[in-house]
C-alpha cells in the first residue's frame, strides 16, 4: 500500500480542469536554501520525491538478500503556487547531482527557466549546477542567498567568479522571506520575458 491516499481538499490544484501547469527550477548546491525558498513561496507544504539508486555492479542475486533493499534518496523538493485562474506554477528544487540524469531531463523539459541560489561563501559549489543548467539550455538568473552576517560581494566580482554573461541578472534574496524570494522570482521572470522577445526578433 501507499501512504495517505485521502488528501485534504487544499492538496488539490484549484480549478485544475482549467489550469495550465508551468514550472520554474530552483537549483543550487546542497544546503544553499532551496527548500526554504520553495517553502516561502509554495501554497502547499513542500513535497519531495525519492529516486531509486542503482549501484553499478550490483548483481541480480544480491537483490534477494538483506542488502537487496532498494536504496532511495531525496532527489528533488517542490512546491506549488496558483498564479491565476489559468496558470499554476510549480517550483522544483534540486542539487546539482549529475547521477540523476533522467530526473534532470524530466525537470528541465518545458521549464520556463531556472533560479540559481548561490551562497556567496561557497561560490565554487555552484559551478556544477550552473553547468547543468547551461547544458540543458535553460535561461537563468542568480539569487544570492544572504545568510546572517555574510559579506555581500560586489556584483562585478560575483559575475567574474561565476563566469556569467553580462545580461544574467544577479539579485540578493533572503530565502526565508516570502517577499524577498518572490522578488527574486520576479527578476527571473522579467529576464525570461526579455529573452522571449529576443527570440522572436
Amino acid at each position: 500500500m501507499v501512504s495517505g491516499p485521502n488528501l485534504d481538499e487544499t492538496a488539490y490544484v484549484r480549478d485544475g480542469a482549467n489550469q495550465t501547469p508551468v514550472k520554474i527550477l530552483v537549483v543550487g548546491h546542497f544546503a544553499v536554501g532551496k527548500t526554504t525558498f520553495i517553502g516561502a513561496i509554495s501554497e502547499i507544504p513542500p513535497l519531495s520525491t525519492e529516486e531509486t539508486m542503482t549501484r553499478a555492479g550490483e548483481s541480480v542475486d544480491d537483490l534477494k538478500g538483506v542488502n537487496g533493499k532498494t536504496t532511495t534518496t531525496v532527489a528533488m523538493d517542490f512546491g506549488r503556487l496558483t498564479i491565476s485562474e489559468r496558470v499554476v506554477l510549480y517550483l522544483f528544487g534540486t542539487p546539482g547531482q549529475q547521477r540523476f540524469v533522467q530526473m534532470w531531463e524530466d525537470m528541465a523539459r518545458g521549464a520556463l527557466g531556472a533560479l540559481v541560489l548561490v551562497d556567496p561563501e561557497r561560490l565554487a559549489d555552484s559551478f556544477a549546477v550552473i553547468d547543468l543548467i547551461e547544458q540543458y539550455g535553460l535561461d537563468y538568473a542568480i539569487a544570492v542567498n544572504r545568510f546572517d552576517g555574510s559579506p555581500v560581494r560586489e556584483e562585478k566580482a560575483l559575475r567574474e567568479a561565476l563566469d556569467l554573461l553580462d545580461d544574467t541578472p544577479i539579485v540578493a534574496c533572503d530565502a526565508r522571506d516570502e517577499k524577498s524570494s518572490a522578488a527574486a522570482l520576479i527578476t527571473l521572470v522579467r529576464f525570461l520575458q526579455d529573452r522571449a522577445l529576443q527570440e522572436q526578433i
Binding site: M1, P5, A11, Q19, P21, T52, T72, Y90, V189
Partner: protein
C-alpha cells in the same frame, strides 16, 4: 529533511518492502511525452464505480486522484513511490480509462510570452 514523514503514521510499505518492478508488474516506462512532472491528473469515476481488479497501488492512486487534480510529481510526493513507478501506474490507469490527464501546453514563443506575463502579474499581486 523529508516533509512527508509523520511519526504517528506507519512507514509506507511500497517503497521499502515491495520492489518497484513488482508494483509495476514488469511494465516499462511510458513515453516521456505522456507524463511530465507537471502533467495534471484526475480520476474519471468516483469510488463506487471502480472495478476491483486493479492492484492495491492502482486503487490508492485512483483514490488520491478522485478529490481533484494533482500533478504527477505531487502524486509521487504524496505516495512516496519513485516517479518512474508512478508514471507506469498512471499510464495503465489512463489505458483503462480511469483517469484523465491535462498535459502542459507545447512550448511556443507567443504562448510563453503570455504565460510569463501572467506569472509576473500573479507574483506581483500575491507578494508585491
Amino acid at each position: 529533511m523529508t516533509p512527508m514523514t509523520d511519526p504517528d503514521k506507519p512507514e509506507p510499505e511500497a517503497a521499502e518492502l515491495v520492489r518497484p518492478y513488482v508494483i509495476t508488474k514488469g511494465r516499462s516506462l511510458p513515453d516521456d511525452e505522456q507524463f511530465s512532472l507537471i502533467t495534471l491528473v484526475t480520476a474519471t469515476l468516483d469510488d463506487r464505480q471502480r472495478p476491483n481488479r486493479l492492484s492495491p497501488e492502482e486503487q490508492n492512486l485512483l483514490t488520491m486522484c478522485t478529490g481533484g487534480y494533482l500533478s504527477v510529481a505531487e502524486i509521487a510526493g504524496h505516495t512516496r513511490l519513485p516517479l518512474g513507478v508512478v508514471k507506469i501506474l498512471l499510464a495503465s490507469l489512463v489505458e483503462g480509462g480511469y483517469i484523465l490527464t491535462r498535459p502542459p501546453v507545447a512550448r511556443a514563443v507567443l504562448a510563453d510570452r503570455e504565460i510569463l506575463q501572467e506569472v509576473l502579474d500573479g507574483l506581483r499581486a500575491k507578494f508585491g
